[in-house]
């Protein structure tokens, strides 16, 4: 080994250690930023190390790629609004996976025949995971952006078709493993994997996106780890595995928060099921006008806001903070209750509220806040539906039975901000809306909240 190779390996080791420290910093908001600086330093070291330690001949390609990538990346970092965070994250899963897949193809074009069987196996995984994550993430991003309809796309025999696609991919993998010179098989595998990614994500509804996002995150990481096996590069294995496991842990948490299994999310096609097993809900939904709602809030002593995806679509995060501050000035205790799957990706609501300058000390997790609802005067539900559906707790026949919920129905009164009388994404009827303690305030969440704040001021 030459000196420059030693230098390169040293930067890789440093980068690996710094990445772990960075993720350790993520355990608290106060240490998280410092951690990310370490990771940035590690990344920079690894890039410099690679350029020094590798005999580079084609600098043009490298400089062009780094420059174009930096411009697009910086543009995204500065201009993407917080409400578009799920789409951006899905896109970046696609980019990461595409890079892994392309490196795999490149390795194949050069080293296909002189590769040991084990490396070829890793290459196969890299290609499959990379390709299916690329198209899967693009579909997910399209759904989140609204380019593709958010409703699940389903057809008869879908699971059978998916199984055939999967088996074709698996057969290609085995043939490629045993016949390294079969380029046609290799490229078929690549193509089928692209197709499989599409098939995997189209039947999934928008409400299940937190799980899908986490799974795609995991796949993208594992694709990078497989690249590490192909190239015999430890820092790639470590960083890819950390990413893969992070995504895996998040998917498990998200599934738990919906009381569903990963298989059910992927192949169940929830949301397309017509709800015929809702409990018989009697009574009428009681509407409330702005003045009465403002009165209730102004004279309450404890108020809890429960945001859902509706908050994001209405971009109402600033409006809710203004209302909350107005109430706090009157001596009302205000808290926010965040369900783990509220929104379209893990932690979505926290980021939106943080953007609106809501201090994170007033954001509460489900387990912390649920015991407090009985002593709460008003719970304000903003564009959330299934996560506050008491049927999940009370009706064992409900489609979402067993899903842990925010128990807003135990509050003394509930105000639900909703666009119209329709059902939520799952198509389930929500008995909460018919309870005597509940009143409905229809309209766009942002304007409702702004008007509420004005009305509170005049109380």
């Amino acid at each position: 080994m030459t000196l420059s190779t030693y230098f390169m390996e040293a930067t890789y080791l440093i980068a690996s250690i710094l990445f772990v420290f960075a993720l350790k910093g993520m355990s608290h908001p106060e240490t998280a930023r410092r951690g990310m600086f370490l990771a940035e330093g590690g990344m920079f070291a690894a890039i410099v190390g690679t350029l020094v330690g590798t005999h580079i001949v084609a600098w043009g390609w490298i400089i062009a790629g780094l420059a174009i990538g930096s411009i697009i990346g910086a543009w995204m970092a500065i201009w993407v609004p917080m409400t578009a965070m799920p789409q951006r994250t899905a896109l970046s899963h696609a980019f990461g996976a595409l890079a892994a897949a392309l490196v795999g193809v490149g390795e194949f074009t050069v080293h296909a025949t002189d590769m040991p069987a084990v490396t070829r196996g890793a290459l196969g995984f890299e290609i499959m995971l990379g390709a299916l994550t690329t198209t899967g993430s693009l579909i997910a991003a399209g759904k989140l952006q609204g380019i593709i309809h958010g409703k699940p796309i389903q057809f008869k025999g879908q699971n059978a078709v998916n199984l055939i696609v999967f088996l074709t991919m698996a057969v290609c993998f085995v043939v490629f493993w045993t016949h390294p010179d079969a380029a046609a098989v290799f490229y078929t595998m690549l193509g089928v994997a692209f197709l499989f990614g599409v098939m995997l994500v189209i039947p999934i509804g928008s409400a299940d996106m937190p799980v899908v996002m986490s799974l795609l995150n995991s796949y993208a990481g594992l694709a990078a780890a497989a690249t590490g096996f192909v190239l015999g590069n430890n820092v790639l294995i470590i960083a890819g595995t950390l990413d893969g496991f992070s995504g895996f842990i998040l998917s498990v948490l998200m599934c738990k928060a919906m009381n569903r299994s990963i298989t059910n999310v992927l192949f169940g096609g929830f949301g397309a099921v017509v709800a015929e097993v809702t409990s018989e809900v009697g009574g009428l939904m009681r509407e409330i006008n702005l003045e009465d709602a403002a009165m209730q809030l102004a004279f309450a002593s404890r108020v809890i806001f429960v945001p859902g995806y509706g908050l994001a679509t209405a971009q109402a995060q600033h409006a809710v903070r203004e209302l909350a501050e107005m109430l706090e000035d009157r001596g009302v205790t205000v808290k926010y209750a965040i369900h783990p799957v509220a929104g379209r990706m893990p932690g979505h609501m926290n980021v939106l509220l943080a953007e609106a300058n809501v201090p994170y000390s007033s954001l509460y997790e489900m387990e912390q806040i649920n015991p407090e609802f009985p002593s709460t005067d008003v719970a304000v539900v903003i564009g959330a539906n299934d996560v506050v559906n008491p049927d999940a707790r009370d009706n064992p026949k409900s489609l979402i039975a067993g899903m842990p919920i925010l128990e807003v129905d135990r509050a003394k009164s509930v105000i639900v901000l909703k666009r119209g009388q329709g059902r939520g994404f799952s198509g389930l009827e929500n008995p909460l809306f018919f309870k005597p303690c509940t009143s409905m305030l229809y309209g766009d969440a942002k304007s409702s909240l702004t008007h509420l704040a004005q009305a509170v001021q005049h109380v």
Partner: protein, 105 residues
């Protein structure tokens, strides 16, 4: 890849998986979105594989071209991912500590 290297790689993989589980299960739900974009930026380390493909001596022009695209997309992830993670983390403020009095009840 000879068997000894493969076994060492599997050790690295297994230990990284264990470490990842330990470290990441302690990240609070509050920071799950920044966590996802941070791990994404970190796995942009596949950039170093792309750099080799795009420029190293023993690769073909076709490989260089593929490497160029890979360098571009990986750089988008690294720059964009770290940038946006930092932008998010800057927004998390503790402010108004008196709002926390109710905790522990």
């Amino acid at each position: 890849m000879n068997p000894a290297v493969l076994i060492a790689s599997i050790y690295v993989f297994a230990l990284a998986a264990f470490l990842g589980y330990q470290v990441i299960s302690r990240v609070p739900p509050l920071l799950h979105t920044p966590l996802m974009s941070a791990t994404n930026a970190i796995s942009g380390i596949s950039l170093i594989g792309s750099l080799v493909l795009a420029g190293a001596a023993h690769y073909t022009p076709l490989a260089h071209a593929l490497g160029f695209i890979a360098v571009t997309t990986a750089t988008i992830n690294v720059v964009g991912g770290f940038g946006i993670t930092d932008r998010m983390l800057k927004m998390f403020n503790k402010r108004k500590p008196e709002a926390k009095q109710e905790v522990g009840k």
